[in-house]
């Protein structure tokens, strides 16, 4: 959600958010995130005033985003139950929010009404819940400790016997009871309808390709004219800006990135932008299935959001490592794909046909990303010790507890423990 901050209240709001951080983001008295079990990641950003491409001022805003376990209603109810009064205090500093006394129902309705759908939403951790990620990490730890204790034995018997020994161990542990059966996957009907949708779209594209293709070519040509004639806006990022941003990266495993960009002017570009983001949103669950966003193996969640009637875009992500590493991955691994999603943002390095150039201009790309990056005032991660690759591997370890395996399969499974 994105709210305008009440006139003059920005310092007070920033202070309040800082109190959350200073008193431990997990347990503080304002929004004790650790108690909101449906949250994977959450953040508050107090955006200062900004200037859009037309030179018009955009008022300061508060952004609150959560990556949560569905459904939304339950998530919001939990937020209100655990942190209602704290959230009330925060929103009281924003426009169009009740100034009266705390009212849980009103807060819940407000949160529901303010939910903004993302243009593109990427999930790197599959359909796993917060609890599943947490549990499977515990499971892997327990199996590892067991395996260390029984190493000589496990290494010297056939893999199938060793596997059975590990399964028996898991079964013997009351606290790992949940691991006796596999995590229920999506229903058959869901999977069928999911692929039916994809096939339907592809069929439509093929059928209408005689009409679509010329249209796309003309569209691209117009875009090319824009690209040739426009000048790249400068990105005068300062050292102090970068210092303030990286100083907030203090977690061992994960970090976050928040950026606010201006969309280049004109409805032609806005429509293109929306089309690109929404088609990516549609395709992402089909093509980025193995925890890799265009080949980048470190992104837990990423979100592209158009705000201010499409004049500005928010980009928010949670990933493993640090921001320097993360931005370098963009350039090194997924320059073309990500250029497509960012090329219509002001100041982005010059592109050709929306995929060429762009992030290949590494220096310019880094300057743009840092210039547009904003400070995330509060950031919370529920499973802060696991990387995306760990999450996938943990599930693989758990899956190996079920069903029959050949000796070779068992050996392969044991080797990933």
């Amino acid at each position: 959600m994105v709210l305008y901050i009440s006139e003059g209240k920005q310092p007070e709001l920033t202070n309040l958010l800082q109190q959350i951080v200073d008193n431990d983001v997990e347990t503080n008295g304002i929004v004790p995130f650790k108690q909101i079990k449906s949250i994977h990641f959450a953040r508050f950003i107090a955006l200062g005033k900004s200037i859009d491409v037309h030179g018009q001022e955009v008022a300061s805003r508060l952004v609150l985003t959560t990556n949560y376990d569905m459904p939304l209603e339950n998530h919001i109810q939990e937020m209100v139950r655990v942190a209602g009064p704290g959230l009330w205090r925060i929103f009281s500093l924003c426009q169009n929010f009740s100034s009266g006394n705390y009212n849980a129902d009103m807060l819940e309705r407000f949160l529901l009404s303010q939910n903004i759908p993302s243009e593109t939403f990427y999930v790197g951790v599959g359909y796993r819940s917060v609890q599943q990620i947490h549990n499977e990490n515990l499971l892997r730890k327990a199996i590892n400790e067991f395996a260390d204790g029984q190493r000589a034995l496990l290494q010297n018997e056939p893999a199938q016997a060793a596997r059975q020994r590990i399964i028996n161990f898991v079964r013997s542990r009351p606290d790992l009871k949940w691991a006796d059966s596999p995590e229920p996957g999506p229903s058959r009907a869901f999977t069928i309808s999911r692929y039916a949708k994809l096939i339907g779209i592809i069929a439509l594209l093929i059928i209408f390709s005689p009409i679509i293709l010329p249209f796309v070519i003309i569209w691209m040509l117009i875009m090319l004219v824009f690209e040739i004639t426009e000048l790249q806006a400068p990105n005068p990022v300062t050292k102090d800006q970068i210092r303030a941003l990286v100083a907030r990266e203090t977690q061992l495993v994960q970090a976050q990135f928040s950026a606010l960009g201006n969309i280049k002017p004109g409805s032609f570009r806005l429509i293109t932008m929306k089309f690109l983001l929404q088609s990516t949103n549609f395709l992402a669950p089909y093509i980025f299935t193995k925890g890799k966003l265009s080949g980048i193996p470190t992104v837990h969640f990423a979100r592209w959001l158009l705000v201010e009637e499409g004049r500005q875009m928010l980009f928010l992500s949670n990933y493993d490592g640090n921001s320097e590493n993360y931005l370098r991955d963009f350039i090194n691994i997924a320059a073309k794909q990500l250029t497509l999603l960012f090329c219509l943002a002001q100041g982005y390095p010059k592109t050709w046909l929306m995929v060429f150039g762009g992030a290949k201009d590494a220096e310019n790309f880094m300057a743009w990303a840092r210039y547009r990056q904003v400070i995330t005032n509060v950031w919370y991660s529920a499973n802060k010790e696991v990387s995306v690759m760990n999450i996938f591997q943990n599930s693989k370890i758990r899956c190996g507890l079920y069903g029959e395996m050949t000796e070779t399969e068992a050996q392969k499974w044991i080797s990933i423990i």
Partner: protein
């Protein structure tokens, strides 16, 4: 811009490692009278060895900290144009977190370069063919500097170890990138664009790494060449950044740990397994042979300089050389989690030119593992002056240190940092010792409780200017 290397303007230490000049001293200097120091720089400039000259007897090189350039009176705009990492140095709060310098490696405890030690402005690197020549040259310098407004903060002495080994007894200095343009034969994968190591040339992105400039009016005498675009003059060209870290190595601890971990059921030492474990940790055998090529033994050669190997084809599962091994993470070559070509391209963007030297007496003369294990423990400090040259400290040294060496999640791992050199003392760490897995077909062998064999004792970032830039600095007007 002309991409032909201007060897006569580049300091020679960037071009060669001076294996023919085994004796070396590193002098850390502070300045109290900038005007006099500039006179000294003018004199010194003539003695700095350029890259087009192969020095017969001795060589000298000079580099500056950010504080040093500031003390000289360099223009504020020029100072601002240096990289953020160089300006901020190695010891801030975030940097400590980023580089993993905690507990005994914390900057507060450093013997130089830390917040509690004297300011360092200049690094003077002296190399010579033997100790006599070196000592003569050093004495000349030390006698001169006090007359020119400089004082000695510390003199770092180096040691030549038996047969190009480092203190743990491993053949060292094998993996070294070849700078493109030097016309030295090497694998294509190992030839790196000059701009990765020298400012003013194209880097592995096909771009020019950002470099310091001075406003034209601050160079009225036109000592520097103009930048291709804009009006500023090029202070960075043919210069680069130098990372210096004093890394103490605890040799008895290292071999005792290997011995204890591999002792057989009767509690007896198993020399073969002990050496194998140490080699798994390094990624090479003590003679230098890479595990990927000879997984079971060292191949029998007295020493090996073999670099021609891959990971992807030869060892995709890390059964020969573990993913967490030191060499596999400090230069992952083709083994990153992307396609082969992308992995190589990425690895090439994070290379370091290594110019380190050992210091302190060897535990035993020939540094054989068994001798080291039995070697007498004393309180003497020994280790490595880690010196690396890179055009972008953030993208090269710091990236490798943070993203690869000290990252427990590197390549899908869980809790394995570099078992040889990483630090486990971050207050957030759940365990303050290291973990290292040796993979087999079937269950891995997980080694826990790994202490820090290497501790940081000092360090700083330096700018090592081209010779034109050095003359400019000698004439800088405040």
């Amino acid at each position: 811009m002309n991409d032909q290397l201007e060897l006569n303007d580049i300091q020679g230490i960037i071009i060669r490692g001076y294996s023919n000049l085994p004796a070396a001293h590193f002098l850390l200097l502070g300045m109290q009278d900038p005007a006099a120091v500039k006179q000294w720089l003018s004199l010194m400039a003539k003695d700095i060895t350029p890259g087009d000259r192969d020095p017969g007897e001795s060589a000298a090189h000079i580099a500056f900290t950010f504080d040093g350039l500031k003390a000289l009176g360099l223009n504020a705009d020029a100072l601002e144009s240096f990289s953020l990492e160089f300006e901020d140095g190695m010891t801030g709060k975030h940097k400590q977190f980023f580089l993993g310098d905690f507990a005994e490696s914390a900057p507060e405890r450093w013997t130089w370069g830390g917040p509690n030690t004297a300011d360092i402005h200049i690094l003077l690197m002296l190399y010579a063919k033997d100790a006599d020549v070196l000592s003569r040259n050093k004495n000349t310098v030390l006698e001169t500097i006090s007359r020119y407004g400089l004082h000695e903060v510390q003199v770092l002495d180096t040691t030549v170890l038996y047969k190009q080994k480092e203190h743990f007894g491993f053949h060292d200095g094998i993996s070294q990138p070849t700078i493109k343009g030097l016309k030295r034969a090497d694998d294509k994968e190992n030839i790196i664009e000059a701009g990765e190591f020298i400012l003013g040339y194209k880097n592995e992105y096909g771009q020019y790494t950002p470099r310091p400039t001075v406003p034209a009016q601050a160079d009225a005498a036109n000592l520097l060449t103009p930048m291709p675009q804009g009006s500023a003059h090029d202070l960075g060209r043919n210069g680069t950044y130098l990372v210096f870290r004093q890394l103490a190595q605890d040799v008895p601890l290292f071999w005792k740990f290997m011995a204890r971990t591999t002792e057989n059921v009767n509690g007896n030492n198993d020399e073969k397994e002990m050496i194998k474990l140490a080699s798994k940790i390094v990624g090479r055998w003590p003679n230098g042979a890479p595990l990927v090529l000879s997984p079971e033994d060292d191949g029998g050669k007295p020493e090996s300089n073999e670099n021609h190997f891959d990971y992807r084809q030869s060892d995709p599962e890390g059964l020969k050389c573990p993913f967490a091994a030191h060499i596999r993470r400090s230069n992952p070559k083709d083994s990153l989690d992307t396609d082969r070509a992308t992995s190589i391209a990425i690895a090439k963007r994070h290379r370091l030119l290594r110019r380190g030297r050992s210091y302190g007496p060897p535990l035993t003369e020939k540094l054989n593992p068994l001798d080291c294990l039995k070697g007498e423990e004393t309180n003497v400090e020994r280790g490595l002056y880690f010196i690396s040259i890179n055009a972008d400290i953030g993208r090269q040294f710091e990236f490798v240190q943070n993203g690869w060496i000290n990252n427990p999640k590197f390549k899908g791992l869980y809790e394995e940092r570099d078992p040889l050199v990483a630090n486990h003392q971050n207050p957030q760490d759940s365990s303050h010792t290291g973990t290292f897995c040796i993979h087999h077909n079937g269950l891995r062998t997980r080694i826990t409780g790994i202490p820090e064999f290497v501790k940081v004792k000092g360090g700083a970032y330096f700018f090592i200017p081209g010779l034109r830039a050095l003359r400019y600095l000698a004439n800088v007007t405040t």
